[in-house]
Amino acid sequence: MRSNTQASARVETPDTAVVRGPGDVEVWLSVNGAAHRLAIEPRVSLLDALRDRLELTGTKKGCNQGACGACTVWVDGERVLSCLTLAIACERREVRTIEGLADGQTLHPMQAAFIARDAFQCGYCTPGQIMSAVALLKEGHAKDDSDIREWMSGNLCRCAAYPHIRSAIRDVRDGKTGD
């Protein structure tokens, strides 16, 4: 799979308005800055494409029903539920997952804040929480705690690390470092 990875993120892709499938079709996905050529059925979700075809298993399948947020990734910088998004619909768009958040060995400030604040227990929901949390700041939806509560409410955490998640988000919002 990795052998199909190309250096450039942007590739010429077919017009998605054209009917493709059933059966495997060629789909180009740009994920974390690398382009991938996949042969998948048009009904394959972005989540399954990431996990099962590209071995990017950081994104989690908590429900596959759009109800838990564990599968949150960004498409063109906006957070989406990858379980409810078809991979084929992400052609010509830039997908970013938890694996593409750190800058090399340097953690994204939100990742560092999650560690500093112990913002999780089992960690299963965590990649989704972090992708949501970073997007939330960009959206300007972290003005105060009730704002954070509301705009993070799509990401369930059964361990209920919510108070520490809020602390981590506040820290990054206020420019406090991860320590």
Partner: protein
């Protein structure tokens, strides 16, 4: 290396960042679902759409013609080899235990029961091919209501049984010699309060769906499973399948939450094993969320009939508890024992003179029930803390005052309760005072009075819960006397590597609790090594072959004890080596602050690493000194541990809409000495959230035909960030006197304490409307109904 007398800072008590974390936030974890084994196939399970039916015909052959399918089989194909899933806790000798085949053979007894499987080259093909399986069901009567199930002539949950009653288990303090007779207490009482509470059915709903990979292709069977109990699973898999135990390896990789829900030997694990055997290939099964909610075991689901007798001054004279507990269609691994764990906790923190407990376990055509966070203890705490509030109202006292008049004073420990447990320590006064202060209790009571006087449509309620729990499960002898199938010990091994780095092997099996961090902190202090120099290994029966796993807030209370013992043995083994290096007599060597020194000589000490290198070379060790510092310990606790605390909750109830808003929540817990306050705080937050969820949000609901109506996260609603209050959490610290670290356990405390705190607050808000109960979960509709009906139970 020569050491000076600088003492290293203590690790225990520090809010160390968790070692586990870096992997988790970068997506580099190894969940079972991520595991890929060469040649691995994928399995999908066909589940019963009916609550109760006979399978009159089943044909899996058509599925074999579907693309990519390698195997398909039903219960009939494996009937003579699949055995019956184990129940390890037959609470009475007369217990009725229906066979529990992993795949149903002739009869399905709940919706979601597995009936057939397809094994294919990819998951989608396996799922698609399920539709080709032909199956005819003859519907049978569905038994759902607990009391109807026990009536004469009731329809049967299992047609091959003669009753729906699983067992009756009784504790009577008069018979046990731990107290008086409840009937006498009631007959002489000035006040007798009777209530019926309903513990709704809950679903553990861990975020990581269960997943299992089995490679049974060679002599060695390897199982990777999202389980809390790899050791128990290995034992029961060996016994159940006839595979020699040394040929079974179970690995619990990263496990995404359990809460008791992964304390099970599951049908799915056994079916995946059968599939791997039949296909001759490794096989993976990962459940969907709906399969998980439908078929992973449920929790709670009991009717509690409580009778409390007391004097007018609020002194309780006797407590009589009659439970009817829903087992579901089968007996889970420890399912029958769950209500029995609660039996010892109904008397809670109080000095009741007489107590009787009777529990009847009942079968219904529903998913089987088993442990869910707290397992029996939240139910007990809920009932007693609810009825203590009713007593307070009845005798005209503040709910805290009525509790104070009955609780065990801090100077009375150790105290043997009417249920026969000996509580080692506690200070209920201190925790309660602290909680009152943090909440601003008296001020809120004044505000409540003002709102009541003004007829404010938004009423204020204050809920109290003073709880204790028995954790650190458990002394093996006690488990034996309760007919539990295994012991309650835990093991720890320390490997001292030649460079002085440490590997710790623990029999605990964490799934989010941060053991790697806490264990490292403890070992760092005990052995005088750096936190970073400790690696904690767990969850693989090949490296950690001996263990009793993680549940019941037991890891630190029991496993931590073994860990400290093992460290002490390492030090004892290192002393003669250090003496040799220091050229002194062993009796002159002392170990303190991470160094071995000649007594009275502060400088020139030797570290454990020096000793490790010396035994590695072993060139000139004194005679009789074994060239290793490694040590093991298996610890069997002599008693439970008894964390306790006071939780206070203030709610606002909109009497026009029934909406409940938690305005403030204070948790003061005494979990003994704390190894890592950050981890403890996280456990309290998570525990409180799950308890609040029972009070306000969650309920597993079946319709009249036995269909689960709450099979997605849209219908079964674990709370989101928006649903939960800020929690003010604080601690008092009464060290456990018999534990070398003074720790007690924290995993379940919040869940046990919070449910009654919230419901007491809701009912307290509605007292002016004549309301004395709101059934859980206290949804707006139920609250509104309670107000409209203007009453409750009395």
């Amino acid at each position: 290396m020569t050491i000076t007398s600088q003492a290293p800072a203590a690790e225990v008590g520090a809010a160390r960042k968790r070692k586990e974390d870096a992997r988790l936030i970068t997506g580099q974890t190894m969940w079972t679902e991520n595991i890929v084994v060469p040649g691995m196939l994928h399995m999908a399970i066909l589940r019963s759409p009916l609550g109760h039916a006979r399978i009159s015909r089943i044909d899996t052959a058509p599925a074999l013609r579907e693309p990519n399918v390698v195997a398909a089989f039903s219960g009939r194909d494996v009937a003579d080899v699949q055995g019956s899933l184990p129940c390890a806790w037959p609470v009475t000798a007369e217990l009725v235990m229906p066979a529990h085949p992993p795949l149903a053979v002739d009869e399905v007894c709940h919706t979601g029961e597995a009936v057939a499987v397809v094994v294919a080259r990819d998951r989608a093909s396996a799922v698609d091919a399920l539709a080709a399986i032909e199956i005819d069901y003859e519907p049978l009567p569905v038994v759902l209501d607990l009391e109807a199930a026990l009536a004469d002539g009731a329809d049967l949950v299992h047609t091959d049984q003669t009753t729906n009653k699983a067992y009756t288990w009784i504790f009577d303090s008069a018979q046990a010699g731990t107290g008086g007779a409840v009937d006498e207490a009631a007959s002489g009482a000035e006040v007798v309060i009777r209530r019926r509470y309903r513990q709704q059915r809950l679903i553990p709903a861990f975020m990581e769906p269960r997943s299992v990979v089995v490679d049974a292709t060679g002599d060695q069977v390897t199982v990777w499973s999202a389980t809390q109990i790899p050791h128990v699973l290995r034992f029961l898999l060996a016994v159940g399948t006839g595979t020699p135990e040394h040929r079974v390896r179970v690995v619990a990789p990263d496990v995404g939450g359990g809460f008791g829900g992964k304390l099970q030997v599951t049908p799915e694990e056994m079916i995946t094993y059968l599939a791997s055997k039949r296909a001759g290939r490794p096989v993976k099964y990962t459940e969907t969320r709906s399969d998980s909610l439908l078929s992973a075991h449920h929790g709670r689901d009991m009717i509690q009939d409580i009778e409390l007798s007391a004097r007018r001054d609020g002194t309780v004279l006797g407590l009589n508890v009659r439970l009817t507990a829903n087992m579901g269609a089968y007996l889970g691994l420890v399912g029958p024992g769950v209500p029995i764990l609660g039996a010892f906790m109904y008397n809670a923190i109080y000095k009741f003179p007489a107590y009787r407990f009777e529990c009847t376990g009942v079968f219904t055509n529903t998913t089987f029930t088993d442990a869910y966070r707290g397992a029996g203890r939240p139910e007990a705490t809920y009932a007693i803390e609810r009825i203590m509030d009713e007593l307070a109202v009845e005798v005209g006292l503040d709910p805290l005052e009525v509790r104070r008049r009955n609780w065990i004073g801090h100077e009375e420990f150790p105290f043997t309760t009417v249920a026969g447990l000996t509580y080692d320590s506690g200070n209920y006064e201190a925790a309660t005072d602290r909680a009152k202060q943090l909440l601003g209790y008296d001020e809120l009571r004044r505000e409540q009075a003002a709102r009541r006087a003004s007829g404010d449509p938004v009423q204020l309620g204050i809920g109290v819960s003073t709880y204790t729990e028995m954790c650190g499960l458990a002394p093996s002898r006690v488990l034996g006397s309760l007919r539990y199938g295994a012991g309650g010990w835990e093991s720890a091994s320390i490997r001292v590597l030649p460079t002085g780095k440490i590997e710790v092997v623990t029999g605990s099996s964490p799934h989010g609790q941060g053991h790697e961090t806490a264990w490292s902190q403890i070992v760092a202090d005990q052995l005088g090594v750096a936190f970073e120099d400790v690696e904690v290994l767990h969850g693989d029966t090949r490296t950690a072959y001996k263990g009793m796993d993680t549940y019941g807030s037991r890891s630190l209370a029991v496993g931590g004890f073994a860990l400290v013992n093992a460290c002490k043995k390492v030090i004892d083994k290192a002393k003669p080596v250090a003496a040799h290096l220091l050229e002194c007599d062993v009796s002159d060597v002392e170990f303190a602050d991470g160094a071995f020194r000649v007594r009275g000589t502060p400088d020139g000490g030797r570290s454990l690493a020096d000793c490790a290198l010396a035994v590695f070379a072993a060139h000139d060790l004194p005679d009789g000194v074994e060239p290793t510092l490694d040590a093991d310990d298996v610890y069997d606790p002599v008693n439970f541990s008894f964390p306790h605390g006071t939780h206070l909750c203030a709610v606002e109830v909109d009497t026009e809409t029934g909406r409940v808003t938690i305005r403030a929540y204070v948790a003061v817990d005494d979990v003994g000495r704390v190894v890592n306050p950050m981890i403890v705080e996280g456990q309290v937050h998570g525990g409180v959230a799950q308890g609040v969820a029972q009070a306000l949000f969650e309920e597993a609901v079946y319709d009249a035909d036995g269909n689960l109506l709450t099979g997605t996260f849209v219908d079964y609603t674990p709370p989101s960030a928006a649903d939960l209050p800020d929690i003010v959490s604080d601690r008092t610290e009464t060290p456990a006197p018999d534990h070398p670290l003074g720790t007690k356990g924290v995993g379940e405390a919040g869940t046990i304490a919070s449910t009654p705190a919230v419901v007491n607050a809701v009912v307290d808000a509605l007292r002016p409307y004549g309301v004395d109960d709101v059934p859980m979960p206290c949804t707006p509709e139920r609250v509104w109904q309670a107000i409209r009906n203007g009453g409750g139970q009395s």
